[in-house]
């Protein structure tokens, strides 16, 4: 006890100085937005390097299973590619437009702006209220804010921060995450969010009780927004009831992505995203 008092008497002023400077510095980098963005990019770089090193060791133990899963996905993709090119050939032959794509069916045009980028999750949590996924691609690979993150089974999140070599994505399992989705069979539009209770279940809102909803209905991404292309798997309706009092169903969606074992992921970007975002921001500015 006496040693503590001696220590405080000798170094007390220095400690107080460092403490006050630390408090001031934390206020500066957390409260002011330009400073926050700069410092968060730097901190993401540092934590990204640590996470990358750690995950490169742990990934080694799951390589066998991951290989098998990737093989299966490759096969399925090759099959889909084959089916699509057959369909395209059939369509070309019936409308007699040789070699030119000047007239395209509507369903192809919106998807033309999207491009995919493979990446890996080097850090991921599922047990907090605000879960984030750290990805091993950053600004130098062309990642931008707002890009979507897909797992092999479906939607996994959206990128919110980008540093030079790494980026941070909001997981679907985050109270701040919202996604515009639709029901595939009955074409109803709603907003997907997470309520923080279970890592497999998310909630779908704004589906009216007059729609013919059934358990097992597929929930997919809608065409709204530039984060994801249309018709990408989100999950299946596992339960719904009328506990909301406002004429919409309370719907629980079982998410198709396996969040506890995220490994190889895909980033989805839209080539015209900056143009669309600035266009949609115009009405707000004029108000």
């Amino acid at each position: 006890m006496w040693r503590v008092v001696e220590f405080l008497a000798k170094y007390g002023n220095l400690l107080l100085f460092l403490f006050l400077q630390l408090v001031s510095f934390l206020i500066i980098i957390n409260v002011n937005s330009p400073h926050r963005e700069t410092s968060q990019a730097v901190l993401l770089q540092l934590s990204g390097k640590v996470s990358a090193a750690y995950s490169s060791v742990t990934n080694y133990f799951g390589l066998g299973a991951e290989n098998e899963r990737l093989q299966a996905e490759n096969t399925e993709l090759k099959n889909r590619l084959l089916a699509l090119s057959n369909e395209l050939d059939a369509w070309k032959s019936t409308t007699r437009v040789p070699n030119s794509f000047s007239v395209l069916p509507d369903s192809l045009i919106p998807s033309m702006g999207y491009y995919f980028m493979p990446c890996k999750a080097i850090n991921n949590t599922t047990d907090h209220n605000y879960n984030y996924i750290t990805l091993n691609k950053g600004a130098r690979h062309g990642v931008t804010k707002g890009m979507g993150v897909l797992s092999p089974q479906g939607v996994a999140g959206r990128v919110i921060e980008v540093s030079h070599d790494y980026s941070l994505a909001l997981s679907v399992l985050n109270l701040k995450f919202k996604l515009s989705c639709k029901l595939l069979r009955i074409q109803g539009l709603g907003v997907l969010s997470w309520d923080g209770s279970k890592p497999e279940i998310a909630l779908l809102n704004d589906i009216p009780q007059t729609s013919g909803l059934q358990e097992g209905d597929t929930v997919v991404t809608s065409s709204y927004g530039t984060t994801f292309p249309e018709n990408f798997m989100v999950g299946r309706v596992s339960h719904f009831d009328t506990r909301n009092g406002d004429g919409t169903y309370y719907i629980e969606v079982e998410l198709s992505s396996q969040f506890r074992s995220l490994n190889n992921l895909y980033l989805v970007g839209h080539r015209d995203a900056p143009q669309l975002d600035s266009l949609e921001a115009l009405p707000e500015k004029e108000q």
Binding site: N13, S24, I27, I28
Partner: protein, 170 residues
């Protein structure tokens, strides 16, 4: 000066800084930080811990009341400046004048001593302030220019304030 006069000076300096001197700027947003005069004129015999806490809250009060400045920058610069006060004075003052920190009277010093006292500490304050404001080393020559101009302006005003209000004639 009694405690009451120091507390009154605190409010006066903070209000002057926020409502007058924060709106003035000569070139490229360099600012006159009058608040440093208040902090540098606090008695040497003051408990260093209390002095640093006062500096922190002075800086924080200026930050809070100025709506368009960054939070926390004034308090960081003020605490740093106040902490360097004692080492700097013991560095450049001869042993005859600076025998005992507790008895040292800032207000009774010669004008040239006050000039050097203010010059270094104001430079440290301004440099820290503009570096934190910018928060990057891009265009460092601009930051340095703002520091020098800010130091000169603040030094001029602080020296004037000392000459008119704080000096005790021997």
């Amino acid at each position: 000066m009694s405690i009451v006069r120091h507390i009154a000076a605190f409010f006066l300096f903070v209000f002057l800084q926020v409502f007058l001197f924060n709106k003035l700027s000569l070139i490229m947003n360099d600012r006159i930080h009058l608040i440093v005069v208040f902090l540098l004129m606090l008695p040497f015999a003051m408990n260093p811990a209390l002095l640093m806490i006062t500096a922190f809250f002075t800086g924080f009060a200026v930050d809070l009341l100025s709506h368009n400045l960054f939070y926390g920058v004034h308090s960081f610069a003020a605490v740093l400046m106040v902490w360097l006060r004692r080492p700097w004075v013991s560095l450049f003052t001869n042993r005859v004048t600076f025998r005992n920190p507790e008895d040292f009277d800032i207000r009774g010093q010669t004008l040239s001593w006050v000039f050097y006292y203010l010059l270094f500490l104001i430079f440290v304050h301004e440099f820290t302030y503009y570096m934190l404001d910018k928060f990057s080393f891009a265009q460092f020559h601009i930051t340095l220019f703002k520091t020098v101009m800010g130091t000169l302006l603040t030094l001029f005003v602080s020296y004037l304030v000392f000459f008119l209000f704080y000096r005790t004639r021997k």
